[in-house]
Symmetry: C2
Subunit: 290 residues, 2 copies
């Protein structure tokens, strides 16, 4: 089986071919530019690849309501040219196979539930913490859409009492994204996170916010696994700090061995590593086959 | 069709008979006492009622994992005699019909999605704000269980800058429940909420916290409807105040007509009124018939 996958990020597009085992057989990537040019490149890649379906996990916000006339559109993004752009319809015009379509983070959550850290489970949350923060929500065996789709990167958390940084989110200032994404770390300390020591105060602050957000998400959704990915989470020292904050915030209220005894295997890095996004799009493509 | 329904609260039990239209044909209620006596009363009520199934929406935490040996148990409640009590198994021993079983708030969410304010929708959140705060989560046509079940009444919100009350939650102090449930209002102002004027500062504070929680839940879950029930929400002046807080917190980020133009019909009181709980249990019973 040959399934196409498109991981469409705001900065770059990754296209690949995979199989039903989640194996990525080949891939290319190119920068995300104007939509017409980007679509042309995606179509060119898949033109002679003879895939049976294609899954697209896209940056957003996007329209994922199959009953909407704007299904498959990128909606209100500030990214030049992409606002209200019929991304999926344009791909479908040229590539005549079944398409799967969802947010990049929902795709990653599905990929992890299919082949990764949440394999065999009915629910997981997938956080990406990088240049922005996004959350994919998979629950009771379904990706959550609802009114639009989850945007859990923008929830408010309480401020760390020693943190004077105002946050960079243009909508909410000091929401989760505004305080923990890459630009927040650089904005607060004046240098990139990747250049900070592993015992820098930055990681205490970052874990404080992420831990609070994850604790709140556990209360709201009771996921069977919480997966933390994205560039910021390459700082592996964050994991024990975040787990400690989650415990501190829940304070024993949610009574489960997953939290009390096995939190090291409950809050984890993506099982698919940096393939989570592309493999997730692959999983969307597989689902499109029915 | 005659379906039994049990709304099992920590203070009182309501038992009733209803039909597939969500109509409640008869009901009784009695105080929740020791579990053996309470179970005896429930069984006595249904013994000769010839119902085809019974749905139970229960106070918690409860075990709703059908693969668990403790399925149907009330788990870690401080309520005397109820901790680790096999509530559903005891009912099943005496009443030989299919049983539905879920949390009281999940039941209410299902009832609202079946016959009430969220009728025909694939998702809704049901908050009860009364002596405690609970949240039922219905998404993509399914009640959310996950690891245990949602406990969204205990999320942290930011404090109102003028509010000096410490909160009454024994686990989290000033979590949502600790700041907005009935005992918080009475603890903060020294008199019951029902005796406060409709323009008392209390309602500004209460709306501040609930609005923040609802905004966060919209970001995490993107529900198609948010339903606010429970005794505190009988204070109808709260609704416009809460809608305003939700708007203020989201600040235009979630772009949907439901929020921009129709928030009055998006954040609403239960369509089933104070029947939401019992009708929800009825819906659980109907689902148990398959």
């Amino acid at each position: 089986m040959r399934i196409g996958a498109v991981e469409a990020g705001g900065t770059k597009i990754v296209c690949g071919i995979g199989n039903e085992e989640g194996e990525i057989l080949e891939r290319i990537s190119f920068p995300t530019v104007k939509p017409e040019e980007t679509v042309r490149q995606i179509i060119a890649y898949f033109q002679d690849k003879q895939v049976e379906a294609i899954g697209v996990g896209s940056f957003g916000p996007i329209n994922i309501d199959v009953n909407s006339l704007q299904y498959g559109y990128v909606t209100t993004t500030p990214k030049p040219g992409w606002s209200n752009y019929p991304f999926l319809p344009e791909l479908k015009k040229a590539l005549h196979v079944p398409f799967g379509w969802d947010t990049d983070v929902n795709a990653a959550a599905l990929g992890e539930a299919t082949w990764g850290a949440a394999k065999g489970l009915e629910s997981c949350l997938y956080y990406t913490i990088g240049t922005g923060v996004g959350v994919g929500v998979y629950t009771e065996g379904k990706l959550v859409h609802g009114l639009i789709h989850p945007e859990g990167g923008h929830i408010l958390t309480r401020r760390h009492p020693e943190d004077t940084y105002g946050g960079f989110c243009p909508y909410h200032g000091d929401c989760l994204e505004g305080m923990t994404a890459g630009p927040a770390i650089e904005g607060r300390w004046g240098i990139k996170g990747s250049e900070l020591d592993v015992d820098h105060k930055a990681w205490e602050f970052t874990a404080f916010y992420i831990g609070q957000a994850v604790a709140g998400a556990i209360l709201m959704l009771s996921p069977q696994k919480v997966i933390l990915g994205g560039g910021v989470m390459h700082q592996e020292q964050l994991f024990p700090l975040i787990r400690e904050q989650v415990r501190r915030n829940l304070n024993g209220y949610v009574s489960s061995p997953a939290l009390a005894e096995h939190i090291d295997t409950y809050i984890v890095a993506p099982g698919l590593g940096d393939n989570a996004g592309l493999a997730g799009s692959l999983a969307l493509g597989l689902r499109a086959l029915g």
